[in-house]
Amino acid sequence: MTRPKQIQLSHGGGGEETNSLIHDLFYHHFSNDTLLAAEDAAVLDVKNKIAFTTDSFTVSPIFFNGGNIGKLAIAGTVNDLAMMGAKPLYLSASFIIEEGFTFADLESIVKAMAEELKHSGAKIVCGDTKVVPKGAVDKLFINTSGIGEIEKEGISANHLQEGDVIIVSGDVGRHGAAILMEREGLGISGDLQSDCATLWPAVQALIDANISISAMRDATRGGLSAVLNEWAEQSAVCLEIEESSIPVDEAVQGICELFGFEAFDFANEGTCILAVPQKDVQSALDALHEVEVTKKATIIGQVSRKKEGRVILHSAYGSSRYLDLPKGELLPRIC
């Protein structure tokens, strides 16, 4: 049977076409013994305490500079596990596909997922496919859940202590800015790429270097602002941040200037924030600098008791202001 160019409702019907889609595409690219056992549920071998997470991915456009929805679905879930000090082991992948979606696009997304899995060594061990009528979803939604084995305990948004140093693993806002540029067809040239990437190798480097980590979080939706505000509130501390220390790509900053956005509010998909005790700061930076995706890690501030529950941004010229949680949808300024 020749492969159809588009996904049809019959691919979700549970019959021959579904079988063919699963075997020729998903099993082919995600191949591993647990998945190929094709039972009703995956049987997993886990020895230690586990972390478990889930996320659904609905990005538009689904292909963007620096990645696609598939790469995002793997990096996102793997990173959620990594941020808890858990080595990503097993993932599920659930696809909700709009009738008419091209087979070629689906295949390149699946390939990107398989490629991204290599960075953590995690495996997709179960999954599901639904095909829905045209218009019922926007092209393709992917849900990924993941299980990881805890290798370092005690990392928590509630554990920030006065004196802890705040580190950011790279420049902020690139994913949000890249998506915005493509979605709105802003016509601004340049090679602005999403930061979409797996952070497990960086976390592993920190664990191997025996760094104490008070808190760690990937700065996804809501960006740096959201993570810092959540930490300040949950740990009832003040985070004092030096604005000029926060790395922001020139193109990202330019887009923010043009439309009145704040780079700190933009989403990241391969950048995390860490709080570590002063004694471990240099070792943490050394470990992060050894890994490609975190080689620009830098200190941006520290934890104090000045104003509990708030994030204060200090300027390089002596003024300060609150960095608030982003609110509402991102809308460009008018003039």
Binding site: I188, S189, I255, E257, S315, S320, R321, G328, I334, C335
Partner: protein, 374 residues
């Protein structure tokens, strides 16, 4: 846009050493001021700069800021937002508007709420996107709810010109473009606001030219300095105003000379004049009717005028703000956001009672967002 280096937009205008030096000069020269300086920044963009960069903290108490009526979202009265909602609720209609307008409460609802209710309401990045949307949806009525001061008006005029040229028949305009000088005049004529100098709008002046502020120094004995939006621009403008005061001068000056001329963009002005004319009455939120303070489409373009074509369904009664909301008083320069008893409690960016809390250029929003750290 490949020639545009995005870095050029801000680089060099935030240098910490220059900011510190300017602040020091202002502190030194402000010691000689005969009276405290009450500066009105007419434009919400300047309010945003002052709050975001904490500029007030660098300046002496003798220099205070009064926030003006120059935010196009803040000044939109509820009945006009009700117009937008009514138009959006028509069958087979797509309603288009800009930015924060989508979140401003009307009398009972907002465009954001109605969008969630299933109506096709979209926020544009550029008014010219309306052209594509109208072409892609020939069976629908596409209504552009046009807002903004002199800055955005040329884009609406350019859109109209293209609509006319391309023979597009399903794109209608609901014009809410407003003008800076009549609003400033209304506030000064009222006499209650104690303003003794103005920071003049930046982008408005790029289009209209600084000439529109020339009458102010003579009429109200207030210096005007047309200022850019970067922190260095604003500080330099304040220094220029302090110097005028100390030298007993009262003039209109242009700090933002890299973009603003006396005459402005005459081509844009001509395009606006081709399609629009001042309307006799326009009610400003919280301020009331300011005659000839807004624009309307000229009679010969009635075929595109949503206010005329859909007049039968549009509400006409003025609707006042909630009694506890003091947006009007703030827009008139008579109060600051934290003077409002619902500021930050019943009224927040997520639950706005007034438009000044909604708009990213609104004074309440800037105060809430950036706070005042003591």
């Amino acid at each position: 846009m490949s020639e545009l280096q995005l870095k050029d937009l801000y680089d060099g205008f935030r240098d910490p050493d220059v900011i510190k030096a300017l602040a020091k000069s202002i502190i030194d020269e402000a010691k000689h001021l005969k009276e405290p300086l009450k500066l009105m920044e007419v434009c919400g963009g300047h309010t945003h700069t002052i709050m975001k960069y904490g500029l007030k903290q660098l300046l002496p108490d003798r220099i205070d800021f009064i926030h003006g009526p120059g935010c196009p979202v803040c000044i939109m009265p509820k009945e006009r937002i009700d117009h937008a909602i009514t138009l959006a609720q028509m069958s087979d209609t797509i309603l288009l508007t800009l930015g924060d307008m989508i979140r401003v409460p009307g009398s009972k609802s907002s465009l954001a709420v109605e969008r969630a209710n299933g109506y096709d309401i979209r926020a544009l990045y550029s008014p010219l996107d309306a052209l594509r949307i109208a072409r892609e949806n020939p069976d629908k009525k596409v209504v552009f709810f046009a807002i903004g001061f002199e800055t955005t008006t040329p884009m609406t005029a350019a859109l109209l010109e293209l609509v006319e040229k391309q023979g597009i028949t399903n794109l209608y305009f609901h014009i809410n473009h407003v003008l800076v000088p009549p609003a400033v005049d209304a506030i000064m004529a009222d006499g209650q606001a104690k303003i003794n100098a103005f920071i003049g709008p930046a982008h408005v002046s790029v289009i209209s030219g600084a000439k529109i502020y020339q009458p102010l120094p003579e009429k109200y004995s207030t210096p005007v300095v047309v200022s850019g939006f970067e922190p260095i621009d604003v500080l330099q403008s304040i220094l220029m105003i302090v110097r005028q005061k100390n030298e007993a001068r009262c003039e209109m000056e242009i700090q933002y000379s890299r973009s603003v001329t006396l005459e402005g963009n005459t081509k844009a002005q001509e395009m606006i004049e081709k399609f629009m004319e001042p309307r006799v009455h326009f009610r400003w939120r919280g301020i009331g009717d300011i005659p000839y303070s807004a624009l309307a489409l000229k009679a010969q373009y009635a075929a595109y005028d949503a206010e005329k074509i859909f007049a039968d369904i549009l509400p006409t009664e003025p609707i006042d703000d909630h009694k506890l909301c003091i947006c009007g008083t703030i827009l008139k320069g008579l109060a600051k956001p934290n003077d409002c008893q619902v500021f930050g409690t019943a009224c927040t960016p997520n639950t706005p009672m007034g438009s000044c809390m909604v708009s990213s250029e609104g004074a309440c929003n800037a105060y809430y967002r950036y706070g005042a750290i003591k």
